[in-house]
Amino acid sequence: MFDYNDLNLKIGLEIHQQLSNKKLFCNCSTKFQEKNLDSEFSRKLRAVAGEQGYVDVAAAFEEAKHREFVYHGYKDEYCLVDCDDDPPHEINQDALLTALSVAKLFKMNAPDEIQVMRKIIADGSACSSFQRTMLIGLGTKDSFIETTQGNVRITSLCLEEDACKIEKVHDNRIHYSLSRQGIPLLEIRTEPDIKTPEQAKEAAEQIGLLLRSFSSILRGIGTIRQDVNLSIKNGNRIEIKGFQELRMMPKTIDFEISRQINIIKQGKNVEKEVRKANDNGTTSFLRPLPGAARMYPDTDIKTISVNKELLNEVKIPELITDKIIKLQKKHNLSHELASQIIKENIDFEGYASKFKKIYSGLLATLLINYSKDKKGHLEFVLQNLNSGRITKDVIDSVMMNLRMNKKVNLEQFKSVNYSEIENEIQELIKKKPELSTNAVMGILMGKYRGRVDGKKLIEIINKLSTK
């Protein structure tokens, strides 16, 4: 579409991954249901001395002055820490260890002492007006991921608190949910080494996949978020946030490039800004790009010494990429199947040892295709397939019946002896020689629907009718 090289396209990524179990500085769960509203309170945010002279921060607070922020607390999903009415508790040790492990995986340098910082946010999305964040790893020359289009260096890894989710805006009242606030969030930044939109997607996928090796990451919609920073020749730095689906990333980047080219062609300047990724691949203006973050140490939290005892606990789990290759080799699966099995967290080994007679390729396909069906239904099918009571050709039909809660009569799906069918066809052709191949096919399919392989049937009919 474009000559990215000629455009001097530069892309860097920011990957945000939520961690599970409990929030970073309190005991609230990271389960995120927002069902039972427990309380609601409103706050104002004001500029703090020291912010004068920092135009961007001051401006943000100036705007906040006219706003009222309303916070919604859902049962078990918030506490006084989230309300900014209790100092932070001890850091979530699991989250810290996971972050240090990820830093180790990317061969990053961890500080000898970690200091929790307050990053100022004036839009109300942090009840306290700041987000707690800490630097866990700095990239070294060995910190990079490989993509088919070259290496992408990793700049840094931070562990921070997620911010509130916006619920609604009513004039000057902005409503936030406290449930997401405080969930541990890993932030991985790359250098702007990415040169094409496809490479951006590949790099994001790779990082996401590597992160899935860690047991404490949260899975599901919204648990991983990718921001794209991009610039082209004569353009300016644009940050795109909020991709709903990774596969839209290349299209969105291309749209953004066209947008910038159009602006440049008109002789105008591309403004530095944050844009939102829309579902159709376009982007829309969100806000101007903020200046350098204003940070200062969180005086409520002691510094964390990254000493030998802590480092001894830092372990890199078996990587998902290694698991895929291992499974692929052991069961002679395609890479595609093996990676789907692993990504969907399917207990392939368990099924394989239970249903030894089903060959692994088929088993893997079935486990993936029917992963969303009831486990009982799947087991029923696999058992009968394993014992030879049904053939693979009828699985779809059996499954369909099970899904509709129909009683399944296996007799109906009994595997068919093709030599018997051959005799039947021979009889039929003898009796009614005027019948076309299709007509014979029709009669037989009526009788053996779902139990015979259509292709094989045609072969037999053709063979017998040419005789």
């Binding site: 703090v48 001395a49 006084l80 009415d85 630097l135």
Partner: protein
């Protein structure tokens, strides 16, 4: 590397075996660790013994706060703020991360710009201390400062203080200022003012509004009513207690009602109590306190020695259980110690004024209901009625200091709103 010639705030570059970092030098608590603030804003701690090379890039030049010219507004009254420390007015340096207190009028108005619409402000830093470090003498120091400010014809006084003992200080000051022609409002903040979400702003604005817009005089407290940044309450000095370690609405009235509610944004003040001190009269200060006064909290399994440690004291507040009880009965061989406690109380009461309060906080002491209470009365223990234990503590010390001959008569008499003879059900709801 052992010696680093650079100072906090300097831009430096340091090299270890494998890496080179540059950033601003930050003061470090840990002597083995050097802290750099990187370009990204993050602080990075590096072990000093790893550092191989060190280079100064740029010396720190002190950031000067913008000088605001304060214009005295003739149409507005003047309020004086006496600072004693606490988190009411602090400022953060993004270069070094240091949080420092701000006390000049310029600095204060820069922090709380809304104030200049309400009044002119005079500021004085009296002490920079935690309220935990208060001694009786500090109330005398504060009283003299208040006297000076009243002579300067200020319309009212705000005392900024750490919240831990803010309520105790309020009740002590209300005894010290036997008569006070202006409002003296104690203001604190539960979330330090170095964050945008601090409660300091609303507390200070509300107190200022209350001082300028009403005829109230005397000592009171102004803090958040609830978790909303909407309303503040004016709370009675002797009937308020910090009942939560961290919430912004930690201060609650016990056995009484708040005096007034302030909605700063709506410019509304609603009095919740009809009887309150009005502006009139002159200043009368009584600032003596008896040093030898104590407060003992009753627990199970106490021993006589704990009580005996107050021998030689002039007064002792007992924070008893329920209606006002202590361990006293010997019912088996395990409770023999209680006979000794009884004996010690008998001895103490000869030279020490013993006053009973309740750790229930809500409700009134009544030592007539159980025989144990009656026995305590016989031993010489006086009922502190519904007084908060801490209020009773400062009152007893103040009475011993200023009215030594009338202590037993005055302790149960309401002098500053510390005793409420009409407890109604609304107080614990």
């Amino acid at each position: 590397m052992k010696n680093f010639s650079a100072k906090a705030g300097d831009l430096v570059e340091i090299s270890t075996d494998n890496e080179v970092f540059s950033g601003t030098l930050i003061p470090s608590v840990n002597h083995d660790i050097l802290v750099l603030k990187l370009d990204s804003g993050y602080n990075l701690g590096i072990k000093k013994n790893k550092i191989k090379k060190f280079r100064l890039i740029k010396k720190f030049s002190q950031e000067r706060p913008e000088k605001q010219n304060i214009v005295h507004n003739k149409n507005l009254p003047t309020i004086s703020i006496l600072h004693t420390g606490g988190t009411l007015a602090s400022r953060v340096s993004y270069e070094t991360g240091a949080v420092s207190a701000r006390f000049t009028p310029e600095e204060l108005l820069a922090m709380f710009p809304g104030l200049k619409e309400i009044a002119n402000f005079r500021n004085k830093l009296v002490r920079e201390m935690f309220s935990d470090d208060l001694r009786f003498k500090h109330f005398s120091i504060l009283a003299r400062e208040i006297e000076r400010e009243i002579k300067n014809k200020v319309h009212g006084i705000i005392i900024g203080m750490g919240t831990d003992n803010l309520a105790v200080a309020a009740s002590a000051l209300s005894f010290v200022l036997e008569s006070c022609p202006v409002p003296v409002i104690l203001v604190g903040s539960q979330r330090s003012s170095d964050r945008g979400s601090s409660d300091a702003y609303l507390n200070l604005l509300s107190a200022s509004l209350f001082i300028t817009k009403t005829d109230f005089s005397g000592v009171a407290i102004c803090m958040h009513e609830n978790l909303n940044d909407k309303t503040c309450l004016i709370l009675p000095a002797c009937k308020t207690r910090k009942l939560h370690t961290s919430r912004r609405d930690a201060f609650k009235v016990v056995n009484d009602k708040p005096i007034a509610r302030i909605n700063y944004e709506m410019n509304q003040i609603e009095f919740l109590k009809k009887n309150y001190g009005k502006r009139n009269g002159r200043l009368a200060i009584k600032d003596k306190f008896e040093e030898k006064v104590g407060l003992i909290k009753i627990t199970i399994n106490m021993n006589a020695k704990q009580f005996l440690s107050y021998k030689g004291y002039k007064g002792l507040i007992i924070e008893g259980t329920g209606l006002g009880h202590t361990p006293l009965d010997v019912i088996d061989k395990e409770t023999k110690e209680h006979a000794k406690i009884k004996k010690v109380l008998q001895v103490l009461s000869k030279n020490t004024v013993l006053v009973m309060t309740s750790q229930c906080l809500f409700g009134r002491v009544n030592m007539n209901v159980y025989s144990k209470g009656r026995e305590l009365q016989e031993l010489g223990v006086i009922s502190g009625k519904d007084m908060l234990p801490e209020t009773a503590f400062v009152k007893l010390s103040w009475l011993l200091g200023n009215y030594p001959k009338q202590v037993k008569e005055l302790i149960g008499k309401n002098l500053r709103g510390e005793i409420n003879e009409n407890l109604t059900k609304e107080f614990l709801e």
